[in-house]
């Protein structure tokens, strides 16, 4: 775990403690479960966003993807009679294709990620509204999918299951558990696999990566595919969570939540920096903040303002710490080896990961 991640964790605990003292309801099992559910939902696509940001790109169409694929999914299972497992595959498949298209436009057509995904944001939102003729997509009365609902919106008290009901703790929402599973898998991919190393290499310096014989195009396309596919998965969870989707508003600004979570988690928008632990902690902090606004009786209209301020403060503080660290390092290295051919141990920083 990076120092940065640790700092973020401490911040979350401090904020949580303060809120808990002011309003003990923060620690009630119902509130914890609700917050965990939201962390799960937002965390799933925030992790995807992290992959794109590591390459130095950005994916702005996440919110629109969640709206479009949400209405498609509901339509498929509720109105078209498609069996839900098939519908899940179809939606995930569309997610993959979207990522391939974005990646292709960015690498082969050399368009800027911001432009490509901004167009995606507009196009998918427009298509979503057209798809339902601007009406709300929802389930007809009496239609239900018990298994799907259990998987997506159910809660399980793991301790209780393991002990055969002898002990009880909080029932954890499945969305949160699935997010954790994805996080662990993606942690291995990003921090331990060959592909993950390539991602960092491409994000830090695409030119040098190319000169090392890395197929940079594939790496970048794969990052967008991961992002849009996880967004597609999140779209299903959100659809089942809200159960009705107003295509003009559903998922609005979600891409910004994801970017905010990544930035809070120590990702650099220039690419090449960030960790899975960081983005997950970022997603947690964002939800805790939202929760704080509700619990402390702050007018909910201030929601975004609170979020923005905390991110700003966090980024400024991080910048200051980094600068101080750099100055210390600089002082140490110039103090010991002025222009000497051999650098000194003080300037060596193994990449902690």
């Amino acid at each position: 775990m990076l120092k940065k991640d640790l700092g973020l964790l401490v911040l979350i605990i401090v904020v949580g403690a303060v809120v808990a003292i002011i309003n003990p309801r923060f620690l009630s099992s119902i509130n914890i479960a609700n917050t965990a559910n939201l962390v799960g939902l937002f965390g799933i696509f925030a992790i995807g966003q992290g992959f794109v940001i590591i390459t130095g790109g950005i994916e702005l169409s996440v919110g629109s993807i969640i709206a479009l694929l949400g209405v498609i999914f509901i339509d498929l299972i509720a109105n078209q009679g498609v069996p839900w497992p098939l519908a899940v595959l179809v939606v995930l498949g569309i997610g993959v294709v979207m990522g391939l298209v974005h990646g292709w436009l960015i690498t082969k057509m050399r368009l800027q990620p911001f432009v490509v995904t901004l167009c995606g944001l507009l196009i998918y939102r427009g298509v979503a509204r057209f798809y339902t003729a601007d009406a709300t997509a929802g389930f007809p009365f009496g239609v239900s999918f018990p298994t799907l609902e259990w998987i997506t919106t159910g809660r399980t008290d793991i301790v209780s299951v393991l002990t055969g009901g002898a002990l009880h703790t909080i029932a954890i929402p499945h969305s949160f558990m699935i997010m954790l599973v994805i996080a662990v898998a993606m942690w291995v991919v990003l921090h331990r696999s060959v592909f993950g190393r390539y991602l960092y290499a491409v994000g830090k310096n695409e030119e040098a990566a190319r000169y090392s014989g890395i197929r940079t195009t594939r790496v970048i396309v794969a990052a967008y595919v991961i992002c849009t596919t996880l967004s597609a998965l999140a779209a299903i969870f959100f659809a089942m969570y809200t159960r009705s989707i107003l295509p003009s508003g559903h998922g609005n600004f979600y891409e910004l939540y994801a970017i905010a979570a990544a930035v809070l988690g120590g990702f650099s928008l220039r690419g090449g920096e960030g960790s899975i632990v960081g983005v997950v902690l970022g997603a947690i902090l964002l939800q805790v903040l939202q929760n704080l606004v509700n619990l402390l009786g702050i007018p909910s209209s201030l929601n975004f303002a609170v979020m923005g301020s905390v991110i700003l403060i966090g980024v400024v503080a991080d910048q200051q710490f980094a600068r101080r660290r750099q100055m210390r390092q600089h002082a140490r290295s110039t103090a010991t080896a002025p222009g000497a051919a051999v650098p000194v141990a003080g300037s060596s920083t193994p990449t902690p990961r």
Partner: protein, 519 residues
């Protein structure tokens, strides 16, 4: 600036007009850092119109000296006397006021602006009172005489992006002149210049001298130092090991002083007879020279030098060979088989490797460690089931470190912390850890000190002796002639001639480089 002599006829006379009084005098300068004495008891004098060369390996104390002159750091001991007034240190402003100007290796120009705007950036003449519009006419009129003094062949209104590197350096020097500098310090000005351009820059130095401006010329290219300097100061490990006056300046003497031994040994002896053709290019042309076409055969066991002016299409050819850019036309044969490398990964998988020109941008990931850089081209070999084994990576990096003599505290040091020579060795280590069939090295020793150069030559020779085909692109004439077994010369995207060892001569290379036949 009117106070300075400006006539061209002064060129011949200024140098011989007797020793003027020094306006800058350093005496007994010492600067130590914990564990290292960067500069010990250093003294020098600078007179108007003098060209002083400062040579020494990296780490010899040149940068420390420059930082003291620039007022960036203060010496521990010693005095700096300017116009007879002694200071124990200079401030940045003080250095500027004393008329000391720096032209750094990395130019600080805005290539989206024109020449005049760059020279007077932040000091533009204004007009129309409070509107504060830039008075472009006056700006150009003010810059023109500066350019005339340098004999620059471009206009104040020329965009900097259209200038060659040497011309850009002239802009920097014009900027120095506009501040009425008395001493211009050129830090490695020629290391990235092609041959013809270098001549132009040396011309500029001579004209500065003629105008009574002192020049400190720092360079690894000793031939140029020999040509242009009145006096050469040699530094080694922070000590002044020799001051050579005009008639004592001589290549071998400088090298001996710099490294304390002879350099001839640096150029490893030519290898055995060359073997079969490994890579053959037939009419290969890059998009930079669609009308060109490179026909070239690189043999196993040889070092083929690829000379030519910068911009003759050598780097572009290397990029095509390595699959970075697609060829516009032509074909390539590897061991007689036609190949296509639409992507650098294809080239790598066939054993075609490239050490690129710019190690900081293309050669290395500076933020990553030595081990991570070394393993990158062949990462799958250090992984099982797609997961990278840091242990295997570390072991390989340790092996490379020992084999190539990479001086780094540990293999988990970031490559940004290494010196240029050691960075270049890491780039080489990336490829040597795999088995190359042909390795292309684009300016492999640029900006590297003499000691590290010798080690890199030895590595190249070792590769050739092991049967690898080595193609070395170089703009350093000494190096091309000293290291190559054959020299191919490029001109405007074509091979204008190939020289065998008995034809090696600077003249021949130059003639071919400018597109003329051999005499």
């Amino acid at each position: 600036m009117q106070s300075l002599p400006m006539t061209a006829s002064a060129t011949a006379t200024a140098a011989s007009s007797g020793p003027a009084e020094p306006f800058l005098r350093l005496s007994g300068i010492r600067k130590a850092y914990p564990g290292v004495v960067a500069l010990a008891d250093f003294s020098m004098e600078v007179r108007p119109g003098e060209v002083i060369g400062i040579v020494g390996e990296n780490g010899a104390g040149k940068s420390t000296l420059m930082k003291i002159l620039g007022g960036v750091i203060a010496p521990d001991r010693g005095t700096i006397e300017i116009d007879g007034v002694a200071h124990d240190k200079l401030s940045v402003a003080g250095s500027f006021k004393a008329g000391i100007a720096f032209v750094h290796q990395e130019l600080n120009l805005f290539d989206n602006l024109d020449v005049a705007a760059n020279v007077f950036l932040g000091r533009e003449p204004r007009k129309y009172g409070f509107l504060q519009l830039v008075d472009s006419e006056r700006l150009s009129a003010d810059v023109q005489p500066l350019l005339d003094r340098l004999g620059a062949g471009f206009e104040p209104t020329t965009p900097v992006s259209r200038l060659s590197l040497a011309q850009q350096q002239m802009v920097e020097i014009a900027k120095a002149l506009s501040f009425r500098s008395r001493l211009v310090i050129l830090d490695e000005p020629t290391s990235s210049l092609p041959l013809t351009e270098t001549g132009k820059l040396l011309e500029v130095i001579r004209s500065l001298k003629a105008q009574g401006i002192a020049v400190i010329f720092i360079s690894h290219r000793l031939a140029e130092v020999e040509q242009v300097c009145d006096r050469v100061i040699v530094l080694r490990d922070g000590h002044l090991v020799g001051t050579l006056e005009r008639d004592e300046i001589d290549h071998d003497t400088m090298v001996r002083l710099m490294i304390g031994r002879d350099l001839r040994a640096a150029y490893a002896a030519p290898g055995q007879a060359r073997g079969r053709v490994v890579l053959a290019a037939r009419g290969v042309c890059s998009s930079a020279f669609p009308a060109g076409g490179v026909d070239l055969e690189v043999h196993a066991g040889e070092i083929l030098g690829l000379a030519g002016l910068v911009g003759s299409g050598r780097t572009e050819f290397a990029r095509v060979v390595f699959g970075i850019d697609p060829p516009v036309a032509g074909e390539m044969l590897l061991d007689g088989e036609p190949i296509r490398c639409p992507c650098s990964a294809d080239a790598v998988s066939r054993g075609i490797f490239l050490v690129p020109e710019d190690r900081k941008i293309a050669g290395l990931l500076l933020d990553m460690t030595v081990a991570e850089n070394v393993s990158l081209p062949n990462l799958r070999a250090f992984a099982s089931n797609g997961l990278v084994s840091r242990e295997a990576e570390r072991r390989q990096a340790e092996r490379s470190r020992a084999e190539l003599g990479i001086r780094a505290p540990t293999v988990t040091t970031r490559t940004s912390a290494l010196s240029g020579g050691n960075q270049q060795k890491v780039v080489l280590a990336k490829w040597l850890a795999m088995s190359p069939r042909i390795i292309v090295l684009d300016e492999p020793t640029r900006g590297i000190d003499v000691g590290a150069k010798a080690e890199i030559y030895k590595l190249m020779r070792g590769l050739a002796d092991a049967g690898v085909a080595v193609l070395m692109i170089s703009s350093d004439m000494e190096e091309v002639i000293g290291v190559s077994d054959r020299i191919a010369v490029m001109h405007q995207g074509r091979i204008s001639g190939i020289l065998e060892r008995e034809q090696f001569a600077e003249e021949n290379v130059l003639l071919l480089a400018v597109g003329r036949g051999l005499a």
